[in-house]
Amino acid sequence: MDFIHDYGGFIAIFLLFFFMLLSMPVFVAMGLSAFLASLLLEDPFLAFRSFIQISWQGASIFELVALPLFILTGTIMQRTDAGRDLFEVTKAWAGSIPNSLGVATILACGIFAAISGSSIATAATVGLVAIPLLLDEGYGQRRAGGFVAGGGTLGIIIPPSIPLILYGVITETSIGQLFIAGVLPGILMMSLFLLYVVCSRPTVLTRHEVPLAEKLRITRRSIGVILLPPIIIAAIYTGAFTPTEVGALAVVYVAILGFVQRRLDWPKLREAAIVATATTSMLFMLIVFGQFFAHFLTFEQVPQSIAQAIIDNASGLAAVTLMILAYVVMGMFLESAAMLLISIPIFYPVAMQLGMDPLVFGIFACIAMEIAQISPPIGVNLFTIHGISRIKLGRLALGAAPFLLIQITMLYVVYFFPELVLWLPDSMK
């Protein structure tokens, strides 16, 4: 009995991975594994009551209300041709530098990232418009798909960001501060992406010389969309509104803009809401039962003992490298929200022991989620691009590989230069 008590948490972890391999939905695997393990330890009725008590506690968190709002903002924008608008603007300004259409693609991803909280939405929205043009100009499937898959990951580091909301909820870190903390690393990452795209070979030198007047005209036409990112970031930065309120205002803003521009009608709004509801429910179930799983592990003191073992046996750099390796491996098989919910309860105590700031580790984890999204065999951005372009998954994975290397570099950058993350949120105080 004592044996089971000492290893109950590890039994749950084993069951979780076993169930996931059996292809059970991840939220079911998390809920069932922890519940079955708790049946081994406790009186069955107590296990049953704790299951629902903890799950309810995981569901009734006001900060989570921001999730459906940012998701809906994204799905409405997808249906109002925002991707085309953005791409027109970035294409007009990218001009005559090498690989300018690729540069325009990354820039469009960066701007859409500042409206959407999801990297799939970012990759899909920009990809639909950009990939056919990139192919026409001779970038080849590998690069065309890779640019969009990689650029799409900006969606979750540049605020708003669904993984950062989840992280904030799980660790009780201020979501507003997390959002602001993502701005500079997001811009740095986008710059590195741009650098790679400009330098990538063979260079495509199609010129897009657009007269200034024309640039301004195109920009003005899309001004409603272009203005949204600075408004969102400013609203959060100044603290005038909470992230949830910003999400609600963004929904209303894009809906009104869509109706005024006659690009949105009720059927499209309904379709946007349907997609957003399915995504919300998927995330919600993961969050609720993921937190149940995490609470079970905490109760069995697994995270505490893993953190202790790592700290006792590894230096800071080694521990960070160990975490990065674990994330890269997990990222091969898991979708980002599931990965976040499984990993944070275990790694957060480690990061705190290493002296990382909660904001820094939030950004660190968020970049690790990006790796998950573009690493094969399970990379949702790769699937998304495959779905809209039919480019082979293997080719996409190769095309996204340079972005993956940049992200791994960024993980170390964030660990060694926490100021990059903390400077902006600190200036809020």
């Binding site: 704790s50 506690q57 900060e63 201020s174 909470t242 109760f299 809020m428």
Partner: protein, 306 residues
């Protein structure tokens, strides 16, 4: 005997830091090491607002709790946030213990709900950190003030302000950005989270608009099924640790007020039974009268009698 203990809020708050380590040590001594304790901090197992279901359900065995969060199950607890509750921390230290009629009254109510009250204590009268001068009840009119509980919200409403619900973590930036004009809460939290950095004034009201009675509660079934010897050890350990913690809270209160004053904040103190005190009391007189009608006469009498 396995025992899980859960707390929420800052682990540095004396209600945690001055209680849990002592309690664990005394438990060990008094039971001869028969308890295997697991303690959880910062709401990692049960968050503050879920204690009233989690304890009766047995999710954890013992938890820190505010009395006010039980208002959804034991409506009588709200009397502790009305002007009818006019006890000082010193009074609470000496009296609000098992055997005291008020303590036993609440314990009986909690037992009906599946929980046992192990200890009650006063973490100190709430303070109001504001960005507007606050001396008299009139100053509160039209101001939005963050509150920590339903009872505090009613008081703010009664004074003509607008209560705002907001997570503890957002209060600092809320005050700084003017999302709210002020925040009402425990002095320990206000000092710990440095609210004085982003506010100009603080009202130390010494209880005329409410204090913060917290406690430790335990799952009733677990308590009753426990070996009597161990139960005795547990109760002794709780009582001794609670007394020491309550004394610590009393000692530190004045020091924390000084800390705020030294930061340059304008601190206004309402001394008990002063003229200013009377003004606040009068502003809440109707509210107190309503409360007197609303709560069971027996309980009102018990509190008035002591």
């Amino acid at each position: 005997e396995r025992l899980s203990i859960s707390t929420w809020g800052s682990p540095k708050h004396p209600q945690v830091s001055q209680f849990i380590p002592q309690f664990e040590k005394k438990l060990e001594e008094k039971s001869g090491g028969k308890f295997r304790v697991r303690s959880f901090q910062g709401g990692e197992m049960v968050k503050q607002e879920f204690v009233p279901t989690a304890i009766p359900q047995g999710t954890v065995d013992i938890s820190l709790t505010t009395m006010d969060t039980w208002s959804g199950r034991v409506p009588e607890v709200s009397i502790l946030t009305t002007p009818l509750w006019n006890k000082s921390m010193q009074w609470t230290r000496d009296n609000l213990k098992p055997g005291d009629p008020i303590f036993d009254y609440f314990d009986a109510k909690f037992r009906e709900q599946g929980a046992v009250v192990l200890a009650l204590f006063d973490i100190g009268p709430a303070v109001v950190s504001t960005n507007f001068p606050l001396k008299t009840p009139d100053d509160m009119k039209g101001k939005s003030v963050r509150v920590y509980s339903r009872g505090a919200g009613q008081v703010i409403q009664e004074l003509g302000g607008s209560p705002v619900t907001m997570g503890v973590g957002d209060v600092y930036s809320g005050l700084q950005r003017g999302t709210v004009d002020g925040a009402m809460g425990g002095l320990g939290g206000a000092v710990g989270l440095k609210h004085y950095e982003v506010t100009d004034h603080m009202l130390v009201q010494n209880g005329v608009i409410g204090t913060l009675v917290h406690g430790y509660v335990m799952n009733r079934d677990k308590f009753e099924r426990m070996d009597p010897e161990l139960r005795k050890a547990l109760l002794e350990a709780v009582a001794e640790s609670r007394d020491a913690m309550q004394q610590y809270l009393i000692d530190i209160y004045a020091k924390q007020v000084d800390e705020v004053r030294q930061s340059g904040s304008n601190v206004v103190t309402i001394e008990q039974n002063s003229a200013e005190w009377k003004v606040w009391e009068d502003a809440l007189a109707d509210f107190a009268e309503n409360a007197r009608q609303e709560y069971p006469a027996g309980l009102v009498k018990l509190i008035a009698a002591d």
